[in-house]
């Protein structure tokens, strides 16, 4: 990107950028560093709550339950982790969350890819109506359908099983929307050519369309995994036994758990465990991640 010359005063006369070393250039670079410093300060403030989560997880109850101001514990300890892992089925929660997030995402991505392909590349009776109905569900908050959806799941005999969490969230409007948008961009000529070559409908989809959908699948997987890993209200309603909870639901039970004399260390330990996998995914796949979240915005 070309640097726009920085203008210190609004009244400054128009002039093209002068070669380096001029007072204006120096002032501009000073301003750039000032801006960076200010932004860094804001960034620290933004990240602080997550830093504080980790610090509190490593602080003993004695120090955290005091009105002393500190930024790093006197005696960092993993005691909170060992205590909460020993007294609560945190491993089970993690396992449940992992199962729900991976299986749910895998199946849901398949559903979204298929639906997106049909809606983008076929003309069929009822397509417009179906797509409109799908899109309307974006607006319906889960609280509205919580009780009825629970009744459906209970009728299917799924309460307290991971499938109670997985099945109702397999239909993902936003995923279908993103898939359709992307598939609209797959050239028709490519599909027609495959058919001309005698490939059947399924073969065309799997051998020709899917291989060109790499970035789409990346976005869908990351978004789907994040939403399932973080999901709270629906699992809260359909999961009941302490052993079958997911991490966010388990975490929410800890704040009021009388078993802990100082629950905050334990809570922060589990919160840390809940966030770290996603943070790692985010740092590794930052571009896809940001793209995915941005694309849910521009629907």
């Amino acid at each position: 990107m070309t640097a726009v010359p920085v203008r210190p005063a609004p009244t400054a006369p128009s002039a093209p950028t002068r070669p380096g070393g001029s007072p204006r250039e120096r002032r501009s670079s000073r301003r750039r560093w000032l801006l960076t410093a200010a932004l860094t300060a804001v960034a620290i403030a933004v990240v602080f709550p997550l830093y504080w989560m980790v610090v509190s997880a490593l602080t003993t109850g004695g120090q955290s339950q005091s009105s002393e101001f500190y930024l790093w514990p006197d005696a960092p300890t993993v005691g909170n982790f060992t205590e909460v892992f020993a007294t609560q089925p945190v491993w089970r929660w993690l396992g449940n969350s992992m199962l729900v997030a991976t299986v749910g995402t895998a199946l849901s991505v398949c559903v979204s890819l298929g639906a997106g392909y049909a809606l983008a590349k076929y003309r069929f009776r009822g397509r417009g109506l179906l797509y409109a109905l799908f899109l309307v569900t974006i607006m319906i908050p889960i609280q509205v359908t919580l009780v009825p959806a629970f009744l459906v799941v209970a009728r299917l005999g799924l309460v307290d099983s991971p499938w109670a969490v997985i099945l109702p969230t397999l239909f993902d409007v936003v995923g279908i929307f993103i898939a359709r948008q992307f598939m609209l961009g797959v050239p028709d000529a490519l599909i027609e050519a495959a058919r001309l070559d005698g490939a059947g409908e399924l073969r065309t989809f799997f051998r020709v369309v899917l291989p060109s959908c790499g970035p789409l699948v990346g976005v869908l997987v990351i978004l789907g995994f994040m939403n399932r890993w973080n999901d709270f209200l629906w699992p809260l309603v359909v999961l009941q036994g302490n052993e079958s909870l997911t991490v966010p639901v388990g975490l929410s039970t800890l704040t009021t758990n009388p078993a802990f004399s100082s629950p905050w260390g334990a809570v922060m330990a589990v919160a840390t465990v809940a966030v770290v996998p996603l943070l790692v995914v985010f740092l590794v796949f930052q571009r896809t991640f940001v793209q995915g979240i941005a694309s849910t915005g521009i629907k």
Binding site: T40, G114, A271
Partner: protein
Amino acid sequence: MSPHGETLTAAGTAPAGTTTDAVPGDPAGTRTDGPARRRRGRWAPYLFVGPAGLLFLAFSLVPIVIAVALSFQDTATLGEGSWVGADNYRTMLSDPLLRTALLNTVVFTVGTVPTAMAIGLALAVALNRPLPGRGVLRALFFVPMVAAGVVVGVIMSWIFNPDYGVANNALRALGLGGLPWLTSPRTAMVTLVLVVVWTRIGFCMVIYLGALQSIPSELREAAAIDGASRWQRFRRLTVPMLAPTTSILLILNVVFSLQAFDVIYVMTGGGPGFSTTVLIQYVFRSAFADARMGYAAALGLLLVLILLVFTLLRQRATKKAEELL
């Protein structure tokens, strides 16, 4: 050569070149094959969209229909209900708690949306310039988006704990008195707004940043050469160019705020008193704490109606913005 060519060759039908190099919209090929293919592949779209359709039917459409039916019933507990016509809707008109909840919803939305968008825009404009370490900074601002609502809720409840929270400990270390934060009806809403803005600025920043990068830099350079000040350039060039993005972000943020549940549920549960009970909290409360399923369903449909209005507004706004450009 792209992978498509290879897969087709592997299928043993045609040399790779002819497939991927096909001219877009090759009319001859399409036409000759058309009718035959249509007959052959008639079932295909239904097969592809079928799973989504069935899941939609079972877990969206049926529950919505049940919810509408429930809104005309009086249900003491799960299951059995009696038809009461529009009673639930009539109750809404004279429900003082609903009035409180609507007012709180307005305060929460007006508090969160413009603040998050303004901060997001400021960060985007700043980070659109070549600055040292801007990649890292962008990532840092985005990090809160990754955390679950529940995680945000417990962290913030701890930070704003009036006795041992780091916020009050810091204030006291500076010689200032601590604040009640979430424990007083006067400050709870402000604290919630602060927290939700925190979770939202990264999103606004990313969307604005994308829009800023699509503004040709020649425009800004031309304006600079014409003597426009930095502020003038921002006010007269950047802001108008960003108008479509702003309208989309506005509606999206409103929808996010109207649907914000997890953070509020974990941090205050709608309290103290009803000071942070927004509409969606009230829906949940009516259904699960008060066991008034019918009334909760009616309240939920009111919320859907509000969301629908905003979505239609957004569509009109985007259309208008497109016409202007």
